[in-house]
Symmetry: C2
Subunit: 357 residues, 2 copies
């Protein structure tokens, strides 16, 4: 197959000290696997919000301009002065992008474990997936069952493991765990109800605090995951949890309920500061939540169990839906960037670095 | 000794549904110990901020009025309407007060362990210490070594165990642990420097953020205990910890440093909402901190170790200094209430329920 190619393309993101973002395709040598490694021809890699953060960084994509050629496009855009501080750690460094993906093993190292993967479709996590070839250790590959395509296996890690880590709606439904969904519009509430969500409350409703308290009394939930971050939401959740806990409390304690109430913040849809009004006693916590530290904490055995669950439910619970499949060159076209950089619900891109090759 | 008395006085705090606080002395029967219990004649019990919270609750003590007699004083004060919600759990319930104290065992149950304590000076925690007699289980008594008076042993628990839990200045100095002290005035900074504190930063200084960052680089501290609570301080601490962590970081991560940064909030000197600006990556936590859940978490063996340390350092590290020793009646005099309800640094009261008896 593509074993004739001596090189492969790799998408790169560079933010220069001058305040300019540059996206381009680098031609890199096809990697040579060590004994315990394999080379994968990447055929599918999603563009997740976590990828966009590295891909475009703090650049203002409304200033994006295209140059270069059709085969080797270049995109440039301005990074606002005020945002350059936050980019200090990556300046003048050409960085590969793409957290996860799937493809076919086209070359292997000399170990038996590596050889056993030859020709197999595998899922991968580890960065640099917007590349035509990706070399990685056997232990980093998740072999997919027969009948699963690279496109179907492209999103095995980031979203499924995050959702499992937090136990989101479809998983809670399947496992019979009570979940309260908080959304920011009647339309979003409707979408969730249609896929079977039982408790959906709308933070824009005038009865939000009462609705949330009632749902928390009914479910007993004391753990929340918050993608909004800024504003009063985290404090409102803790306040309603405290009211719910005190409805069943037998003894007065001036420090509030002894039930620990926790909100993990994993996104920043609202960039304002988090405001906590402290109407929820002393048994509370608010903190950041990221997938990688979570996985480090639960350890290899539990990770393996979660991965196995993802693989076995790839066509059901964890099926991803993509609205576009693009090549590396297409990923650097302004018309596509304008769509995927919006991170809109219902628009999801898949990169196939070997599309049309 | 006082075994002639059939009854003893007990200080009570009552908040009525009508919005009135009433402090009074109740005459209660001298308790009869069960086999494994002892009766202690309480001779010393401090007035800590945690006691004031229960004693005066949300009442506005500027409205306090005295009535009753010299032997049986009564204090009344108004609870502001807006604060009555927070008092809902204790309305119309006459509550004893006083978290900890020390005294002499004057009567025991029939068990050998109880009998062994007869005449001994013991420290106690468990509430209702502003009482002339307190009955409790042998296991709840901490026998004090010969040469320790009830006044010296009155504060064995709340402040020493809280300080040990957080490892505050004197303990850190003794144990060689790097500590950064944050204060709110040059005067407070001076007090701490005089008792040997190495890193003291003043949050009212224009160079606060730089001073704090430098102290955090020098100490490597990633854990903070915050008595202020409201406003920006907790977020500023996390921000400086993040800057300090990134000074030594080798690899760029757009999620910020992977070093977990934690602020525990154990007080509310500033009643405004907590404002977190989120300039500190994703590896962070903010949460409430209380002594009792902390002790439950570390378990009996570790608690015993901490208690033993307190007892052996009662005259040095954990020595408490009281500016006034008052009887139960004196504790209900307006001139004394005006002083101890201020919670001012340098003014600390000790109640001796058997003073002058």
């Amino acid at each position: 197959m593509s074993s004739d190619h001596k090189t492969g393309l790799q998408l790169r993101s560079l933010i220069k000290k001058s305040g300019e973002l540059e996206l381009s395709l680098a031609e890199v040598a096809k990697p040579e696997p060590d004994a315990d490694e394999v080379v994968v021809r990447v055929e599918a890699s999603p563009i997740n919000p976590s990828d966009l953060g590295l891909l475009v960084g703090a650049a203002d994509m409304s200033t994006a301009k295209a140059s270069g050629t059709k085969d080797s496009p270049v995109i440039t855009a301005k990074v606002p002065e005020a945002a350059m501080n936050a980019m200090a750690g990556r300046l003048d460094e050409s960085m590969p992008v793409g957290n996860e993906g799937a493809g076919v093993v086209v070359k292997t190292g000399s170990s038996d474990a590596a050889k056993a993967l030859m020709g197999k479709t595998v899922a991968m996590i580890g960065g640099a997936m917007y590349s035509q070839y990706r070399c990685l250790r056997v232990s980093e590959c998740l072999p997919l069952p027969a009948g699963i395509t690279p496109a179907e296996g492209a999103s095995c890690f980031v979203n499924p493991l995050t959702a499992l880590g937090m136990m989101l709606n479809k998983i809670c439904l399947k496992d019979g765990i009570s979940l309260v969904n908080i959304v920011r519009s009647p339309e979003q509430a409707e979408i969730l109800r249609k896929i079977g969500a039982k408790h959906v409350v709308d933070s824009t409703s005038p009865t939000f605090m009462d609705d949330l308290t009632n749902a928390l009394v009914e479910t007993g939930a004391t753990l929340a995951f918050d993608a909004i971050g800024g504003g009063k939401l985290a404090g409102q959740i803790l306040t309603c949890m405290e009211i719910a806990a005190n409805r069943s409390a037998k003894v007065y304690s001036r420090y509030g309920s002894s039930v620990h109430k926790q909100v993990y913040i994993y996104g920043a849809l609202d960039p304002r500061p988090i405001e906590l009004n402290r109407a929820f006693g002393m048994a509370w916590g608010v903190g950041g939540w990221l997938l990688t530290p979570f996985l480090q904490k639960i350890g290899p055995a539990e990770i393996a169990r979660l991965r196995q669950r993802v693989v076995s439910e790839l066509k059901t619970t964890f099926a991803s839906h993509y609205t576009q499949v693009v090549s590396l060159q297409e990923a650097l076209q302004l018309n596509h960037i304008a769509v995927y950089a919006k991170r809109a619900t219902g628009e999801k891109y898949l990169v196939n670095p070997n599309k049309g090759r």
